[in-house]
Every structure is written in C-alpha cells, then in structure tokens.
C-alpha cells in the first residue's frame, strides 16, 4: 500500500509540473524516433542530451534518460524488423525473425507484436521494479561487493557466449574478441598502456558506441550491398496488419517466460536488456516444438525478444539505484547525470532523494504504457520507410551512423573506428561469428576486469575467498556449470 501511495505521489509530481510533462513526452517521442531511425539509437540521443541535463533538475534529468531507455529499447525493434538493423544490441534477436517476417510481407504484424509486447514487458517490469528496488537496496549494501559483481559478469559471459553465433566455439571466440578489444587502453589498476599502438586516442580505449554502430548498422549495409552486387537482394514487402489479440494470447506462455527472463537478466550489470533479449529468444527456441521455424519469420521470436528486452528496462534500474551499478550503456550515462548534479546513485538515493526515485518510477511506468498508443501511430507511419529503395536508404543510414559515432566524443577517429568495425563485422558475420557476442564482450570486459582486480585486492589475492561469499560462489558455480553444459553440447551436437 505504501508503494502505491508513493507511486501516486510520483505520478502527481510528474504530471503537475509543466516542465516535467514536456521532458516526459520529449523523452517518449525522442526515444522512439531515435530508436527507430536507422543509424542512430537511443544512445545517440542520450549522448547528445547528456550535456544539456546539467540545466535540468536531477529529477527531470534522470527521468528523461529513464523514459528514453524504455521507449528507445522498443524503438530499436522497428529498424531491426524493417531493415535487419537493430537500433541497439538488445534488438538484435528481434531481427532474427522480424526481418524474415518483413521479407514475407508481414512487417506490420512483426512491428505490432513488438509494440504490444514491449509495452506489456516494460509495464510489468516497472511495477516489479517499484516493489522490489527498495528491499533490494537495503539488502544489497552488505551483500554485493566487487567479488559478487565480478561473479555476475562471469555468469553473464558464460550465458552470452551461446547467443548469435553458428557454433558454440564461434560464440566464445566472438565474446573473447570483444573482451580483447576491451583490454585496449589503460589497465584499470595501474593505468599502464596496453595495445595502444602509441596512439593517444586508444589510451581511453575503444568506445562502444562506434563499435556497436559499426558491427550492426554498417556491416548490415555491407551485407545488403553484397546481396545487391550478386543479385540476391530482395526488397521487403509492405504490410501494416497488426497481430490479432488471439495471436498474442496464443503466445501467453512465451510472454510470461520472457518477462521473467528479462527481469532477472536486467539486473545483471553491463548486459541487461541485451542478454535478456537473447535469452528470451533462446528459451523460446528451446521450448518450442517447431524449432526449425525460428529464424524464418516466426512471430514468437519477435514476441519473446521484445518482451524480454523491455522487461529488462525496469530491472536494469535496480542495480543502478540500489547499488550505483549501471546495467548498460544508457544507465551508465544516467550515472553521468547523477554526477553532474553532485549526486551518487546507490542506496542513499532512496534516503536522500525519495521524490526523484518515485518520479522516475512513475515516468517509466507511463512511458511503457505510452508505447502502446504512440507506438501504434508511429508504426503506421514509419513502416512506409520500406517503400524507399535500399540504394537510397543506405547513404542516409551510413551518414546518420557517421553523425552518431562522431557526436559521442567529437573525434573523427571514432568514425574510422566505426567503419573498420563494420568491415570486420561484415567478414565475421559471413563466417558465422556473433557481432552481438563481440559487443557483449566489449561492454562486460571493462567491468569484469575492474571488479576482478578490486575483488582480488579485497580478498588478499586468496582465490578461496570467493568460497566464503555465498552469492559470488553460487554465481561462479552457475557460470562454470553453464560452461560445462555448453561445452558438452558443443561436442555432442552439430551446433
């Protein structure tokens, strides 16, 4: 009941403030548009807006980013379905079946399913977040240190290696390549330069936004260019038919399963919605009686992926607000917003700024609901992009990606890094590697090494110290078991 009162208080505070309302709707529409525009993403919008949040109140700044997060995760599904260009890594599995649906002339159905399932997953996740974040915040102070976070990252990596690649080994090589890229720059303890080619630019490491844009958007253009060159390109067919309610109800088990998976994955640091979407999709495949239909335009693939990634958005706020630990790229930017206002995210936020917390919670709830209405209207219009011949769309996508890569740090070298990543992604994708795995490795690698170093210093370099911490030990064991099972499967099956 107390939670409900807080929620009502947050809702009133949100909608009684004209600036708050403006920021809310700006975030909802901006997140959807930037998520849906090929070549840029919610991260681009967030990066562009980050400096301006210094002029907003902390409530409005954090609320803006949380709203962009909810609607941007959905918006990225549009390009994944229409052009096989995920707006963000968390939309990558949506493309596995969404794009084939577009090619079959079922784009409207796929986008409609993404709209409805994103709203359902996100709204339920927001409710659970409101109920669960405060208790977790109290418990987490004593229970979660660097060993536990490292163990979480390890578990996340162990699961992540199984997604997207043609074989188990290629999945691991993809993740390891990403971890290796994350090593470039300075080591997290002594600041010693590693693999920097004596280039000052590389001292700060390779930024993940140009890398993501390169591996997903640019490499997709190259793949389509190759299809054009060899004559296998097929223009997608148009359709604006939404899925019926009966079709959604028929997938109720997949929706509930993806909400549960998405929520628990969302809590994992560094991967959040990305792993959620992949695991939601993987589990849909695993439990399906018609596995061979996945990847060929099965509605359940889109439903599972999109429900899971939006279910992760609320959950991703839990480690941020309860532990001060960003669950992904956008939540990492939220840490920046906190810091710009001389605040630190973490359990003390609940004590020092309860108003901020509940305005953000209410905004996330209503942002997810608004996906249903605004998303419906947006979909009816944006789907017409399919009418544009790809040779005209390709330069626009590449130029948008160029601006997205450059806008992050204002460095021309980021543009080159993005296009090089695109070329590498093109060759790796041709060879059956997972670009999503590489991006996951890159994002998790930095957190993993830093927390490992902190954990080992904390445990006085005694490996047995992990055994004395039940959560860390449990997660490590779970990670090793996942690895063992995956390895056994790799040697006993073809994939």
């Amino acid at each position: 009941m107390e939670t409900f009162h807080h929620f009502i208080g947050g809702t009133v505070a949100l909608f009684s403030d004209p600036i708050g309302v403006f920021v809310f709707f700006g975030g909802v529409i901006g997140g959807m548009l930037f998520g849906a525009i090929p070549g840029v993403s919610m991260l681009t919008l967030a990066a562009i807006l980050l400096p301006f949040t210094a002029h907003l109140s902390p409530e409005h700044g954090i609320m803006l980013f949380s709203v962009i997060y909810c609607t941007g995760v959905y918006g990225g599904a549009i390009t994944a379905i229409l052009f096989n260009i995920p707006g963000a890594p968390e939309n990558a599995p949506t493309a596995f079946d969404g794009y084939p649906m577009t090619q079959k002339g079922e784009a409207g159905k796929a986008v409609g399913a993404a709209v409805m399932c994103s709203a359902i997953g996100g709204t339920i996740s927001a409710v659970v977040m409101m109920v669960a974040t405060a208790p977790i915040a109290g418990w987490a102070i004593s229970a979660f240190g660097p060993p536990e976070i490292f163990a979480l990252v390890f578990f996340g990596l162990a699961v992540a290696s199984s997604v997207g690649a043609k074989t188990f080994w290629k999945g691991w090589l993809s993740v390891l390549a990403g971890l290796l890229v994350a090593v470039v720059g300075q080591d997290p303890v002594g600041g010693i330069e590693r693999y920097d080619f004596n280039m000052p630019y590389l001292l700060a490491g390779i930024h993940f936004i140009p890398t993501i844009l390169g591996f997903f958007a640019v490499s997709e253009i190259f793949i389509q260019a190759e299809k054009k060159a060899i004559g296998t390109y097929k223009a997608p067919k148009m359709s604006v038919d939404f899925p019926t309610l009966a079709e959604l109800i028929a997938h109720k088990v997949a929706i509930v399963r993806s909400i549960i998976i998405g929520f628990f994955c969302g809590i994992l640091p560094g991967i959040g919605a990305t792993l959620a979407a992949f695991m939601g999709y993987n589990e849909a495949v695993r439990w399906s009686k018609n596995r061979e239909e996945f990847g060929r335009g099965k509605l359940e693939g889109v439903i599972s992926s999109e429900t899971a990634n939006n279910a992760a958005t609320g959950a991703a706020m839990i480690p941020l607000l309860a532990l001060g630990l960003p669950g992904g790229a956008l939540t990492a930017m939220m840490v920046g917003v906190f810091q710009m206002h001389n605040m630190e995210p973490g359990p003390l936020v609940f004590i020092n700024s309860p108003d901020l917390v509940w305005v953000v919670f209410a905004a996330m709830f209503f942002a997810n609901l608004s996906i249903l209405f605004i998303g419906y209207l947006e979909t009816k219009t944006i789907i017409n992009l399919l009418r544009i011949p790809f040779q005209f769309l390709a330069p626009l996508i590449l130029l948008l990606a160029t601006v997205g890569a450059y806008a992050v740090r204002g460095l021309s070298i980021d543009i080159i890094a993005m296009f090089v990543a695109g070329v590498i992604g093109f060759f790796l994708r041709r060879s059956g590697y997972s670009v999503a795995g590489i991006v996951l490795g890159l994002i998790l690698g930095k957190i993993g090494e830093q927390t490992f170093a902190q954990a080992m210093q904390m445990l006085h370099f005694e490996w047995s110290g992990f055994a004395n911490r039940p959560i860390a030990f449990g997660l490590l064991i779970a990670g090793f078991l996942t690895l063992l099972v995956s390895t056994y499967r790799a040697f006993s099956q073809k994939t």
């Binding site: 090593v183 693999y195 060159a229 296998t232 601006v403 296009f419 070329v423 090494e449 790799a490």
Partner: protein, 263 residues
C-alpha cells in the same frame, strides 16, 4: 577460399584451417606484445598483463575447439564462409559474382582497396617535408614563418595524396563493387578530418548509391539533395551537433560557411 584444394583429414576444409591459424597467429602476436606492458603494479600482484593473457589463452583454446568441431561435424561442402555468399542465384548483369567473393583474388583485391584510406592516413606526413621545401623555394619572396611553410606543405601533401589515392580507388574498383563498398566509408572517415563532413558527405552519398547499383543521375542528385537537406536541418539547425568542418582550404571555408548559414 573455395578454389583451394581440400585434401585434409576428417571434414576439414582449407578455409577452416586458415581461419583457426589466423586466430592462433593473432593470439601469438598479442601474447608476444603483452611483454611490453608486463610490469608490476605495487597494489596488484597480477599486473597489467594477466587479464589479457588469460583472454589470449582462452582464444587459443576456443580456436582449437573450433577446429575440432569442424573436424567432427562439418560437411565436406561447408566452407568457412557463410552460406549466403555461396548462393548460386546471382544476377549476370552485375560484374560481381558470389564465387568471386570467396576467392583468394577477391580477398587480395579487397585488401588493396581497404589499404588505400590507411595510405592516406600515413603518406602525407612522410612526404610533407618535400612539399614544404618546394613551396618555400617557389615563394621565398613572401615572408612567412617556418611553421606556416610546414603547414602549407602538409596541406599540399594531403591534397596530392587524396587526389592520387581516389584516382587509384576509382581505377581499381571496377569488377569488385563489394570491396569498393567496404573501402568507401573508411575513405570517407579518413578524409573527414581534413576535408570536412559538409564537403565530403554529398560525394559519399553519391558513391554509396552508385555502388549499390543506382545509375540514374537525376535520382542520385535528387536523393543526395534530400539526404543532405535532412541531415543539415536535423543535426546542424535543430540539434546543433558540431560536425568536422575540415582544415584544408577551400573545404574548411565550405564547412564553416554551411554551419554559419544554418545556425
């Protein structure tokens, strides 16, 4: 790699072996390089090299696992290159063929095209002193400092290199449109710092459309104008995103002129 012999044990193909060898070579090189930063850190006994070395070791293990997997499961017809490349339904009217995209010749040709933008990043600095001395000798009557000569020399070197390399790119891209498509964006990125986004972007858009098979000049011009209009309105006029204006005349003047006009 499909045109190479495949007399290998199990279900392996040459492509599989080359792929694994590349991973192992990468691992070996990075391991050797790790000695450069193998320094002790007082508060951290594993030092800066332990983490990357573990990753390198795991890469080597995974690469060997991948080889074992192919040995056990791959079908003789399966190459390391994805299925979509070996699709037989290609259009005779285009000068690229799927088979070409898996041949050694195609890889070498593409590598050459990809090397051109990187040549632009390196060459001007090497030949700039020669241009500086030439300019200084030609225009010795004008009073200018040494730094301005070296800057003018560098710009002249960059203009010359860009012209030569673009000509080389255009002369060698025919017959390998996919390789040209891979190299074009990197070329665009490499030139951007010096020539600016505003001056280069229209040419880049035209190039992409051409490489994607569009041959109608009217449509290319119209779409380029629309794309540039949208980009400039959204990012320059509305969002105030500062894009590179370049630093070589007259491209710098074009860039700043566009920005001043729109803001």
């Amino acid at each position: 790699m499909s045109n190479l012999p495949r007399n290998l044990p199990g279900n392996l193909s040459v492509g599989h072996v080359v792929e694994v060898l590349l991973w192992l070579l990468l691992a070996a090189l990075l391991y050797a390089w790790s000695f450069d930063f193998d320094r002790e850190i007082e508060i951290y006994k594993f030092g800066a090299s332990a983490w990357p070395r573990v990753i390198i070791l795991l890469i080597a293990i995974a690469a060997i696992g991948q080889l074992a997997h192919h040995f056990q499961f791959a079908t003789p017809a399966q190459s390391a290159v994805d299925d979509n490349v070996s699709d037989d339904s290609f259009n005779e009217s285009m000068d690229d063929s799927p088979r070409k995209h898996a041949s050694i010749k195609w890889y070498l040709w593409t590598f050459f095209l990809l090397s051109l933008p990187f040549a632009y990043m390196l060459l001007p600095q090497w030949i700039a002193p020669w241009f500086s001395s030439e300019l200084s000798a030609e225009l010795s009557s004008e009073s200018s400092s040494e730094s301005s000569w070296s800057k003018a020399g560098l710009h002249a070197a960059k203009l010359t290199c860009a012209g030569v390399l673009i000509a080389l790119y255009m002369a060698t891209m025919r017959g390998n449109l996919v390789g040209a498509m891979l190299a074009l964006p990197i070329f665009f990125g490499a030139l951007m710092q010096d020539f600016g986004f505003y001056a280069l972007a229209p040419f880049f858009a035209v190039g992409v459309m051409y490489l994607m098979g569009e041959r109608r000049p009217g449509w290319i011009a119209l779409v380029t104008a629309i794309i540039m209009g949208l980009m400039l309105m959204l990012f320059v006029s509305v969002l105030y995103v500062g894009l590179p204006t370049g630093n070589i005349s007259p491209f710098y003047e074009i860039g700043t002129g566009v920005v001043n006009f729109l803001t």
